[in-house]
């Protein structure tokens, strides 16, 4: 499969899980994974999962506006740069965000998230 298609499928899967089954995101990270969430640095699947599960909202919906990919030069790694909006239940105005993923292939033919950086884009 075209790596771009695999990476695009991964991004769709990531936000779909986030919005419908957030604890399952833990399976997309490993021990070496890093998340920087609005400037806060977190390492390892367990801590990352705890952070995401502990965000102060139960339900959310991500709508993706742009997705850009480039090979990262790190053994078939892919850099994925996403922008979109995040709608929280009961909030009138969606939050705009940008996110960077560095995806590394797994032996099973999928990807896991090695690097993850998330920033809200304030108006």
């Amino acid at each position: 499969m075209d790596p771009n298609q695999v990476a695009k499928a991964f991004v769709d899967h990531y936000y779909s899980l986030f919005d419908t089954n957030r604890p399952a995101l833990a399976g997309l990270y490993q021990d070496g994974s890093m998340l920087t969430f609005e400037g806060e640095k977190i390492q390892g699947a367990a801590s990352i999962s705890a952070k995401l599960n502990g965000l102060p909202f139960q339900q959310c919906q991500h709508q993706i506006s742009t997705v850009d990919f480039q090979p990262s030069g790190a053994g078939s790694g892919m850099l994925v740069f996403v922008s979109g909006s995040l709608k929280l239940q009961g909030e009138d105005h969606p939050l705009k965000f940008s996110q960077l993923f560095h995806l590394i292939p797994t032996p099973q033919g999928s990807f896991y998230v090695f690097n993850d950086i998330f920033r809200l884009n304030y108006g």
Binding site: G32, M34, T36, G39, T66, D68, Q70, P71, S72, G73, A74, G75, G77, L79, F81, S83, K96, S98, L100, H102, I104, F114, N115, I117, R119, N121, G123
Partner: protein, 126 residues
């Protein structure tokens, strides 16, 4: 370079990059190499000459970048660093600055500095 705090290194690079962009745009070419890739608002360019050409031909003579946030993480690629920037871009004569996000993947050169292997730029529309 290896002994410096990665946050300091990435902040220094970011300052240098945008100062060069704003004061001497043609000088950016030395920060890219043949393998470098730029995706600029969805358009893809490869190699320092093509990237420099794109940046030099953007439809404004002067500009000023103001950086709001810089996040960095090691990329797992032999000393490589991912840098995620958000900020605003002011163009002369334009009342409202443009908001943007940009990611760089910086990779060490043999001489001990960094070059841009990956560069992705997006405007953040209201």
């Amino acid at each position: 370079m290896a002994a410096m705090d990665p946050d300091q290194v990435s902040r220094a690079f970011v300052d240098h990059y945008y100062n060069t962009f704003d004061a001497n745009r043609a000088g950016l070419v030395s920060l890219y190499q043949d393998a470098s890739m730029l995706t600029f608002e969805g358009q893809q360019f490869q190699g320092a000459p093509n990237i420099a050409n794109k940046l030099n031909s953007l439809p404004f003579q002067q500009c000023k970048h103001n950086i709001s946030t810089v996040d960095c993480q090691p990329s797992g690629a032999h000393g490589g660093m991912l840098v995620f920037v958000s900020g605003i871009l002011q163009l002369p004569g334009e009342e409202h600055p443009l908001k943007f996000s940009q990611m760089f993947h910086l990779v060490p050169t043999a001489e001990g500095s960094l070059f841009v292997l990956n560069d992705i730029f997006r405007l953040n529309y209201a």
